[in-house]
């Protein structure tokens, strides 16, 4: 009896174990039917929060089908080094964010895979939905597509309406007037200075900002070309002259006392938000800073517009956060997964309106021309820059955190702050960059 009872107990336990493991298998099987996309990005701060909300929305809408598993890594060189080292050994994500300006170096380090026209078509991605320059920037020298843009981010002119009004520079539409043309812009700065305010604050201690402003002014001149097709930086006297002209203009703002010299990035923002400076040039990514301050009632009436036209035509430096699929050596992302990833990329472009809350302009034209976007202020006030945006030179030496950015700190920064003669700074920058061409 006792023995039988014991056997019965054991039998029950075994049965329970079998049953539960069978259930578990079903459970795991169910979970396996839901695919996972491993995602890496470098988006911190407000951008990170906004992207996380979009990812959550995607995951909710695609429950039971596909889920994004996102990891955020350090921005800049650490991110790209990690991508390079992991893809070399067949590791890494299924999809990652990538600066368009870094794509040339990404191709030479073998980190990026080609997204074929057939794959794009299968997921509904069309080049006609993007600005031509923006789309082309994601291509290699072979004309193949290595990434799909998500946004266009650029620099803009922030302004304090009260201060501009005092100086007679505010139009009836609430936008600045009379800033186009270098002479007019300088006159406007002088008019602002007369009212006792600091006319323009810029992160003058920051090489990256120097580069963005310089590249904007340089490219507003007819025929200016920073890097020639045969890999020559500032080739010829005309280009040197254009570059010197742009840097001399920047230097004049500091020399005439319109712009405080050697100002650190956070301090330059504080000068504007505290009302000490009437205008501020910085990236669109600082729009949330202003929006948040205004929501708390801690900011004056402000606006933001595209950088004025100083010379021959409109042009603004720009870069682009884009999506790329890594080339994981020996462990390539399978075709079915690539399809899912590209579908996902398309979904993010269609939903990029909320990404614009970070100040960025959606790369996807249908979103930019939607009524919802037109009502989004101040983004729609400066969205005109997308059509004339100029992207970084296509070179392994250019792009964020690149030798070109270093050169901006080494030459443009002292050139603007009056530590170096602008002409000397340009010629030294030219020979330094040319010397690094292999």
């Amino acid at each position: 009896m006792f023995n039988n009872g014991r056997i019965a107990v054991i039998r029950n336990i075994v049965r329970a174990a079998l049953l539960s493991s069978a259930l578990l298998t079903v459970g795991v099987g169910g979970a396996l039917a839901e695919d996972t996309i491993v995602w890496w990005d470098f988006l911190g701060g407000g951008d990170g929060v906004r992207m996380k909300a979009l990812i959550d929305q995607f995951n909710t809408e695609h429950k039971g089908q596909v889920q994004i598993q996102a990891t955020t890594l350090d921005w800049g060189t650490p991110f790209y080094t990690k991508v390079q080292t992991s893809t070399a050994v067949g590791q890494g994500p299924d999809v990652m964010t990538y600066h368009e300006s870094r794509i040339p170096l990404g191709i030479t380090t073998g980190a990026l895979s080609v997204i074929t026209p057939e794959e794009q078509a299968a997921s509904g991605i069309k080049s006609s939905d993007f600005e031509p320059a923006n789309w082309k920037q994601a291509q290699g020298p072979d004309g193949k597509q290595y990434a799909i843009p998500l946004d266009i981010h650029s620099i803009i002119l922030y302004y304090n309406k009260d201060e501009l009004k005092k100086a007679g520079l505010l139009g009836d539409d609430g936008k600045p007037k009379g800033l186009d043309g270098a002479a007019n812009f300088d006159a406007a700065l002088a008019a602002l200075a007369k009212t006792g305010v600091t006319p323009l604050s810029i992160p003058t201690a920051d090489g990256a900002t120097m580069w963005r402003i310089f590249y904007t002014l340089f490219n507003q001149q007819n025929g200016a070309q920073f890097l020639s097709a045969d890999n020559k930086f500032l080739d010829g006297d005309a280009n040197i002259a254009d570059a010197t002209k742009a840097l001399t203009e920047m230097n004049s703002w500091v020399k005439n006392g319109y712009t405080p010299a050697k100002t650190e990035y956070p301090a330059s923002i504080a000068l504007f938000t505290s009302g000490k400076a009437a205008m501020h040039i910085n990236g669109v990514w600082e729009v949330p800073t202003m929006v948040d301050l205004q929501k708390k009632g801690q900011l004056f009436d402000w606006g933001a517009i595209q950088i004025p036209v100083f010379y021959d035509h409109a042009a603004t430096w720009a870069d682009s956060h884009s999506f790329a699929i890594p080339d994981r050596k020996g462990n390539e992302v399978p075709a079915a997964k690539r399809k899912e990833v590209l579908d996902m990329i398309h979904w993010f472009n269609e939903h990029s309106l909320s990404w614009a809350g970070g100040g960025h302009l959606p790369a996807f034209a249908p979103v930019r021309s939607s009524d919802d976007f037109k009502n989004l202020k101040p983004n729609s006030d400066y969205s005109s820059l997308a059509a004339t945006a100029v992207f970084d030179p296509v070179s392994t030496l250019a792009g964020v955190a690149s030798p070109v950015y270093d050169a901006a700190g080494n030459y443009l920064m002292p050139g603007m702050n009056g530590e170096m003669d602008p002409a000397d700074a340009i010629s030294q920058m030219q020979s330094d960059l040319q010397g690094q061409v292999q």
Partner: protein, 309 residues
């Protein structure tokens, strides 16, 4: 010849007896050191050899390269940035190692006079900066020295006549970074010196006092010679540490004239990670390695000799 036979015939007689003990000692030594030796070989010797091999190749950061002999080294010694980086590093070592050692000793002598709870509090105050990560140190000093809003700018204005961005003024960059580094790391030196000072028996001071030695005599004749070994240790640790300067210079110099403020490790970092030139970066790393080995051995020997005198 005769001397050799003499020694060989005599030596075994002396050594024969402890041989069995020798063997067990040898086994014990092996067992205790083997884990370290394996890790050392895998994580240090092997990568070092690989690095030397990489430095003889034209290679990217990841992936195969082609052998090109010593051309990386030839190029390195002609690289303008290499000499800038070398002299910047040497300058930084000079500005940071000796001041932080002297300051450490000075503070330790002071703290050592305090007693009990007060001593712990004061010691903690001096040690506190040491536990901060470099990013926090960077933020604190960037904030305190900010040209527009920094709380230390009024003091700078007294000397310079105007507010200035010290980290964007070339002549002030290295001294400023060295100052921050000394502030940050001296606490550790203080700790080492205090340990050294506590090892000196109070009896010695007592008898010196009875013999009528002044405070200064006590310091020069007793304290200084007896903590000389600690001083040598502190100097050597600091020297090796500061030769490898990277974090602070990188953070404070980022976005500025980074060529002019570059240190050796930054040169390696830029070539390897920013420009994808693994072979070239490896040659710079080998040179830095050699410099550190030579300097630390030289310094240690020199200081030891002086101490034994």
């Amino acid at each position: 010849m005769t001397t050799i036979t003499e020694t060989t015939s005599q030596q075994p007689l002396v050594e024969r007896r402890p041989r069995r003990e020798d063997r067990s000692e040898w086994w014990a030594a092996l067992v205790f050191t083997l884990p370290f030796v394996i890790i050392y070989a895998v994580l240090f010797i092997y990568p070092t050899l690989q690095m030397i091999w990489l430095s003889l190749q034209n290679a990217p950061l990841i992936g195969p390269g082609t052998f090109n002999g010593i051309s990386n080294y030839v190029r390195l010694f002609h690289d303008r940035l290499f000499s800038v980086a070398f002299w910047n590093t040497a300058y930084f070592v000079l500005l940071s190692v000796i001041p932080s050692t002297l300051l450490g000793l000075f503070i330790a002598l002071g703290v050592n006079r305090l007693k009990g709870f007060t001593q712990s509090i004061v010691l903690a105050c001096f040690f506190l900066p040491y536990i901060l990560p470099v990013s926090v140190v960077y933020r604190i000093w960037l904030f305190m020295l900010d040209q527009q809003f920094g709380v230390l700018q009024p003091i700078i204005a007294i000397f310079a006549g105007t507010h200035m961005n010290v980290f964007r003024t070339l002549s002030l960059f290295m001294p400023a970074v060295a100052f921050v580094t000394v502030w940050w790391l001296t606490g550790f030196n203080v700790l080492l010196f205090i340990a050294g000072l506590r090892n000196i028996s109070p009896d010695i001071y007592e008898s010196a006092a009875l013999d009528g030695a002044s405070r200064w005599q006590q310091f020069t004749r007793i304290t200084w010679p007896l903590i000389w070994p600690v001083t040598v240790l502190v100097l050597t640790i600091q020297l090796i540490l500061q030769f490898k300067i990277f974090d602070q210079v990188y953070l404070f110099g980022d976005g500025g004239r980074s060529d002019a403020t570059m240190g050796m490790v930054q040169l390696i970092y830029r070539n390897a990670f920013q420009k994808n030139m693994g072979g070239y970066a490896a040659s710079a790393a080998v040179v830095l390695f050699a410099i550190i080995v030579v300097f630390s051995v030289l310094q240690y020997q020199l200081l030891k000799v002086r101490g034994e005198k």
